[in-house]
Amino acid sequence: MNYLYFLYIEFLTRHNIPKLFGDITFYFIPFCVIAAALLVVVLILVLAERKLLGFFTQRKGPNRVGFWGIMQTVADAFKLLCKENITPDKVDVFLFNLAPILVFIPMFAALGIIPYSAEFTFVNTQTNVILYLILAAFPILSIFLAGWASNNKYSLFGAMRSIAQVLSYELPITFVVLSIAVLASSLNLTGITYAQFSKWGIAGWFIFPCILGFIIMFISILAELNRCPFDLPEAESELVCGYNTEYSGMRFAIFYLTEYSMMFANAMFISILFLGGYLSPFGKYLFSSSFLIYFEQAFWLFLKAGILIFIMIWIRATLPRLASFDLLKFSWTVLLPLSILNLFIAVLIKMGGALC
C-alpha cells in the first residue's frame, strides 16, 4: 500500500495540493475502487452461474440480451432498481429496512482486508485473518433481522436455519484457520501468503500439508454461504425463498449482491489460505516490471478464486439438499473432530520442520 500511497502523494504535490488532503482522501479511494469492482464482479458471477448451470443442464442459459447474453445480469439489475420497494403490512419497518443495509457493510469491509497483490491491500492489520472471520460471519445477524422483521413464517424458518448452520460451521473454519496460522506463524493474510512462497511455485502451498483442512474449509464455506447442498435457509421447495421472501426491488438486490460478493470474498479467502493467494503457481512471474507484477498477482488470485467458484457451481448442479438435522450432525460429528485432527497434524508438521 505504501507504494500506491507515495504515487498518490507525488501526484498531488505535482499539482500543488497539500499533503494533508491526500492523507485524508487516500483511505476513501480503496472503498470506491472496491464498490466499483464489486458490482462488476457480481454481475459477472451471476452471469457465470446462470450460464454454467445452463451448460450443466443442457440448456443455453441467458442468450438474448447483448452478445452471448452478456448484458442479461445488467438488465436484471436495472429491473430490480426500477421495481417498487414493497414494505408488507405489520413488518417491523425499522428492522426490515435496516437488515439490507447491515448485510452489506461487513461484506464490504471484508473485501477491504483481502490482499489482492503485494501492494493492493487496502487495510493491513497484524491479525486480519481474525478480522476477516468476524466480518464474514457478521451478515448472519442481518439475515436474522430480515427473517424476524419480515413477520413471515417462512422467513423466520429460513433465519432460524441460517443461524444454526453458521454457528455450527463457524467452529471447523476457525480450527482450520488456526492450523494455517500455525503453519505460517502468522495471523496476517499477507504473511500467510508469503509463507507459501517457494521456488517451485505450487510446492509451497498449504493445500499439500493441509489437504484435509482444505476439504473441511471448502465444505464449511459452502455451508456458511448457504450454497447447495447446504442451501436450507433459502430452500425454495420448502421455504419459498427463506429470509428474503418478503423483500423486493433494491432491498432484494442488496441481499443478492451480498450473497455473490461473499461467495467471491470467501473463495479468495480459501485461495489465500491454501492456494498461495496471489503467488504465481510457477514460482516466477510472467512480467518483470514491478507495476505489472501487481496486476499479475491479482490475476492469479482471481483465477484461483474463479476455479473454486466454478467448483461451487458444479456442486450446485449435481447434489440435492441436505436435511437440516444431517446438516448440524455432519458439522459437529464429522467436520469438527476432523478439523481438530487437522490442527494436530499442522502442529506436528511445524514441530518437525523446526526440529530438522
Binding site: 443442464t57 449435481t318 439438499r321 437440516s324
Partner: protein
C-alpha cells in the same frame, strides 16, 4: 413457560406443492404435529359436467383430468362405451393403445423423477428428464397433433392409424441408457439416500386403509398391479415391480424400475405393430350414441394408481351420473397420516415421493 404451536399454510401458492395443494400444518419447531390437506383449488366439475354432455362431447375433456397422463382417462371412457356397446377391440388397436399408454406412463414417471429431485433441492435432473420426455411428446404430437391433451382414442378404436414408428424406436433404444444415467447420479448419492431411506414409511395396512394403489402400494411390498388382469394387456409379457422397503427411496426405485418395464412393453407392442397390417377397426358411431340403461365400470392402472370410471346410464345420450376414481386423491389423503412426526424438510420430500398431481385430485 408455555409453548405454542405454529400453524403454517403450505400452499396453495407454494413451489413444492405441485400445483395448488394447500397443506395446513401444525408445527412445533420444525416438527409436524398434524397435517390437514385442503383440496379443491383446481376443481373443474369434471363429473357434473359429464351429466350435461353427450359421450362424444365429453371425450375430449377427460384428457384434462390428469394432464400428465391424458391417454389413461380417455381410455377409461372409451372402455365404458365399448363395454356397453359390446365391441371387441382388434389386436392392432390394442397394441397401439398399450404402446401409447405405456409411453405416457414413462413420460409421467420421468416428470415425477425430475419434480421429486427438485423437491429435494437438486436442480439438474429436472432438465435431464424434460429432455427425454420431449422425445415422447414429440412422437405424441406427430401422431395426435397434441402434446398433452391428445383426444386420440375414440369409441371402438383410435382416431388414425400409426404409419410411422421411428420415433418410438429411438425412444426405446435411448431411454434405458438415460435411465442408467439418472441412476448413476441419483440412486447411490449419499445425500439422496439420507433424505429418502427410512423416510415416509408406508405400512401395507395403512396403505389398504387409505386405499393407496399403484406404485406407492407396490413399493410397500404388495404385489398388486391391475395390468396383470387387464384384458388390454393380454399377451404382453412384463414383470410387476414390487419392493419391500416401504420408504421414499423404494417409491423412487419402483418408478425407475417400472419405467424400464414400460420400455419393455413398448418394445413388444412395437414389434407387433411392425408386423401388423393396415388398421381395421369397427368404430362405434358416436353421433346419437345412447348407452343401454344400467351401470358400467372400467378401471386401469394409471401412473398414479388405479383409475376407475363409473357410469350410470338411464338409456339417454348423456350419462345419468359419472364418477372418477383417481390415484392422487387418495395419496393426498395419506399425507394426513404420513407427515405427522416428520420434520418440515422431510415432509416436502415425502409429499413429493407420493406423486401427487392436483388436477387429478380436484377433477
Amino acid at each position: 413457560m408455555t409453548t405454542t404451536t405454529l400453524k403454517l399454510n403450505l400452499g396453495p401458492q407454494h413451489p413444492s406443492t405441485h400445483g395448488v395443494l394447500r397443506l395446513l400444518l401444525e408445527l412445533k419447531g420444525e416438527k409436524i404435529l398434524s397435517c390437514e390437506p385442503d383440496i379443491g383449488y383446481l376443481h373443474r366439475g369434471m363429473e357434473k359436467m359429464a351429466e350435461k354432455m353427450t359421450y362424444l362431447q365429453y371425450l375430449p375433456t377427460v384428457d384434462r383430468i390428469d394432464y400428465l397422463a391424458g391417454f389413461f382417462y380417455s381410455e377409461l371412457l372409451c372402455r365404458i362405451v365399448e363395454k356397453a356397446m359390446e365391441v371387441e377391440l382388434p389386436d392392432k388397436v390394442r397394441a397401439i393403445r398399450v404402446m401409447l399408454l405405456e409411453l405416457n406412463r414413462i413420460a409421467s414417471h420421468l416428470l415425477w423423477v425430475g419434480a421429486f429431485l427438485m423437491d429435494l433441492g437438486a436442480v439438474s435432473p429436472f432438465f435431464y428428464v424434460f429432455r427425454e420426455r420431449e422425445m415422447i411428446l414429440r412422437f405424441f404430437e406427430k401422431l395426435t397433433g397434441q402434446r398433452m391433451m391428445y383426444n386420440y382414442f375414440v369409441f371402438g378404436g383410435v382416431r388414425r392409424d400409426i404409419d410411422f414408428l421411428d420415433g418410438v424406436e429411438e425412444i426405446i433404444s435411448i431411454l434405458p441408457k438415460k435411465i442408467d444415467d439418472y441412476e448413476k447420479i441419483i440412486t447411490e448419492n449419499p445425500i439422496f439416500l439420507r433424505r429418502t431411506v427410512g423416510k415416509g414409511i408406508l405400512e401395507p395396512e395403512i396403505a389398504f386403509n387409505y386405499a393407496i394403489t399403484g406404485v406407492n402400494l407396490r413399493a410397500s411390498g404388495v404385489d398388486y398391479d391391475y395390468r396383470n388382469s387387464d384384458d388390454l394387456y393380454r399377451g404382453f409379457d412384463f414383470r410387476t415391480v414390487v419392493l419391500e422397503e416401504k420408504d421414499s427411496w423404494a417409491r423412487y426405485k419402483a418408478r425407475i424400475s417400472e419405467m424400464r418395464e414400460c420400455v419393455n412393453i413398448v418394445g413388444q407392442a412395437l414389434d407387433y405393430l411392425k408386423r401388423a397390417g393396415v388398421l381395421e377397426q369397427r368404430l362405434i358411431n358416436p353421433l346419437n350414441l345412447k348407452l343401454p340403461a344400467g351401470d358400467y365400470y372400467s378401471e386401469i392402472e394409471a401412473p398414479r394408481g388405479l383409475a376407475c370410471c363409473y357410469v350410470r346410464s338411464d338409456g339417454g345420450e348423456k350419462p345419468y351420473r359419472l364418477k372418477w376414481r383417481t390415484g392422487s386423491y387418495y395419496s393426498v389423503n395419506l399425507l394426513r397420516k404420513l407427515l405427522v412426526g416428520e420434520y418440515l424438510n422431510d415432509a416436502v420430500a415425502i409429499a413429493g415421493s407420493l406423486d401427487i398431481i392436483l388436477p387429478e385430485v380436484d377433477k
